[in-house]
Every structure is written in C-alpha cells, then in structure tokens.
Amino acid sequence: MSEGRYGDWRTVSKYSSRTNFIGNCMHPDGCNFRVRTETECGSVSPWSGVANSSAQTTQTPNNSMVRTFSSPTECGVIIQWDRAPSNGSRPQSLQVWIQKRSGEFSSTGVSQYCSTASETTQCTIPSAVLRASPFLLTTDDDVVAKVTVQYSSWKVTYETDSNGYDVAKLGSKPKKVTTISVEKAENSSIDVTWNPPSDEQNLQYELVWNNGVGTLDEFPQYVPLTQPYTFALRYNRGNLRPGKEYVFKVRAINSCGSGEFSEPSKLSINQAPSRPDTPVVSSILEEDKCGVKIDWNKISEGGTPITNIFIDVLKKDADGVFQPSDITELLNKPDFVKNFGSVEVGNVDMAMCPDAITEKSCFITC
C-alpha cells in the first residue's frame, strides 16, 4: 500500500481506554488505521503512522491493477484496470487520471473518453489528447494512469505500477525504415527485403516502386506496390522487363500514421538474350562467292549487350537427314565487335565471313 491511496477516514473507536479494536474490514485492499491521543484538557497529539490490516498478507501481484498499453487500432493509449470489487460495499463511480509530464495527475478532459460508470474496465485516450495540455506528454513518455473508485464512504485509488511492462510509451508515427535491400531472385524476379525501423511491433508497410519507368537519377514517379499494406518484411516482384531499372522504397505504418520513406534502392534485371527468330538461309549468287547467306532478325539483348553469336550449320546427309556440321562463333570478328558493341547498329556492307558480320546477317563460305 503506497502513500496517497487513502480514502476518507472515519472514526471506529473514540474516547476509549482500550488499546485494541475488533471489527470487519470489507475493503479489498484492507483498511488503514491510525491513532492519536486526546487528553482530558483537549490537547491532541499528531496522528500516528498508518497501519494496514492486510499489509502482512498482501502479495505483490504480477500485474498492476491499472495497466496502459498502445492501442493496436488507433493512435492512442488504452487504460485498463481490474474491475472494482464490491466486497460489502458497491462501487459507485470511478475516475481515471493521467500523470502529466510534470509528475502530477490530472483528469482534465479524460471523462470524454473514459466513462465514470463503476462497471467499466477500459478506455482509450487519443495520443493527441495526451500530447496536449495539461498532460504535455511526448513520444516515448511513460503513460501512467490511476483510477479512483468511489465507494459509499471511501475512495480507493489504483495506480499503474512502474514495473516496466504495464506502462505504455506514448506512441507516434513509425520511424524511418533504414535498411532496404533488393536482390535478383528466381525467374528474373526481384526480392525486396527490409527491417523494422525500431522495436515496434505490428507495423504495416507500404512498398512503392517506379514500375521500371525512369531511373533513380531521373526522379522516378513512384506507385504503390503493396495494396493493401503488408505486415511482411519481404516482397517478391516478377514479370519484369530486362534492362529496366527498378527502384523501390518502403515506409512503416501504424495507427498513428505513416513513417518516412526509406532511401530508394534499385536493381536492374538482366537476362540471357532471347530466342532469335527463325533465321533464313539463301544462296549466294555473286561471282566467285561460294557459300550461303544467313539472315536473322535483331536479337533482344536481355538488358546487357550481346557478346557473342553462335551459328550452328546443319548439312543434309545422303539419307536426307540434317546433321550438325559446325558451330561458328562470331566472337572476335572485327565487325561483330564493331556492330554489337552498341544496340544502335545499322547495316554494314556485306562481305564474306569471317571478315565481316552485320547485326543481322553473315556469309558462311565454302
């Protein structure tokens, strides 16, 4: 029993020379007693210290009678208390108090959110109220509450214990997500992962991206990727276009609002070149040229420049079956390097392989 929990005192024994009192104490916290002496001439001694009838047997509870915790659904703090017992006397009303930043308690404006009906056991006070006068609490301040229960002839005050787990911190918007990473995953998708901005629990996240439009250096326009928000710390995005730069950023969201977006993180998806269209073989009808001309459409480079092209020549055997003959690599051909070093390639003069190869054709000679 701590100081400050005393209700109204009432006299149970007066003008008695006895030194004991026998009676029934129906109060759940026990009854407090104090004594003083009055002489026949009327002088009165100061009150003694206070003794409690159940002080010797009261065990420290695991939980406070009054608890505060962050609301998971709105930006506020839930004040919760055990239902006021009615051992012999029925509770008539109650009042919730919040500790101001200065240390004193105030109930100003609290009744708007917390009923005074004695049967209530919980109420929620918006964070904005706690940040305002007279409480003036700020983010991460302890929200300490007490509940005064009015019985017929006494009051009992229950207070949040400062035990560290029954006291909520005043919440705010989440902090900035500081760690976001993007990695290439299976099937040319991108894995985006991030860490919570703090020790906060039950945060949701909003992930946005540029959808491959523009680059990080070109002030990309972001669009939501997670709709609705996600509780996960990972997101996989597929169906991406090779060669595009994908930029992601994420922010945390709680009942108080959205945190600041993380710094953007980018990744480009590159693939092996796509399957070329079916090539076309034609005869060379030029004097002194023996061979065939092979044409193919421009090959999609997969986001990174093509470094080599292979031509597999199949020759028809005596049985009419086409058998593999030779594979020609166009790597290191001067014109190949010249023409494939950039995607901006135009046609060049045809000539016999291996001396010249264009973007889309070459000659295989006898």
């Binding site: 590159n270 693939q271 092996a272 070149p273 796509s274 399957r275 070329p276 269209d277 079916t278 090539p279 076309v280 073989v281 034609s282 005869s283 060379i284 009808l285 030029e286 004097e287 002194d288 040229k289 023996c290 061979g291 065939v292 092979i294 193919w296 090959i299 480079e301 997969g302 986001g303 990174t304 420049p305 093509i306 470094t307 080599n308 092209i309 292979f310 031509i311 597999d312 020549v313 199949l314 020759k315 028809k316 086409f322 003959s325 030779d326 020609t328 392989c353 295989i364 000679t365 006898c366």
Partner: protein, 68 residues
C-alpha cells in the same frame, strides 16, 4: 567452315551476353543448296559482217564449268 558446292544446309542461331547463352532459334529453311555462279564463258567469235548485220557465235560452257 566445311561447305562444298551442292551441300544442302540449314542453320540455327543463338546469342550470348553477360548473363549467359540464350536459347537456339528454330532451324532455318532447308531448301538451300550451296552453289557457285558458272565460270566465265570463252570469248565469242564473229562469223560474218554484212552491211549493218553481224553474226556472233559462242561455245556452250563445259559441264565442269557450270558449277552445278
């Protein structure tokens, strides 16, 4: 490349970049024979010249010079 006149060929094509090899294309058309243009013919000869008319003759290309 081991090609010879009268060979009938088809081809497939694939490309490679820093990410690896792409898939082979389908096989091309299969109706192309490797050939050379015929060799040059012998110089034609003039048989006669009468007034404003001339008569020219030439020898048919030998079989081994037609290149197929």
């Amino acid at each position: 490349m081991d090609l010879a006149v009268d060979d009938v060929v088809a081809v497939k094509v694939k490309a490679m970049n820093g990410e690896g090899d792409g898939p082979w294309s389908l096989e091309s058309n299969k109706d192309v024979k490797v050939s050379l243009t015929p060799e040059a013919m012998d110089m034609p000869g003039m048989i006669s010249k009468t007034g404003d008319s001339i008569t020219i003759t030439w020898a048919a290309l030998d079989e081994d010079k037609t290149n197929g």
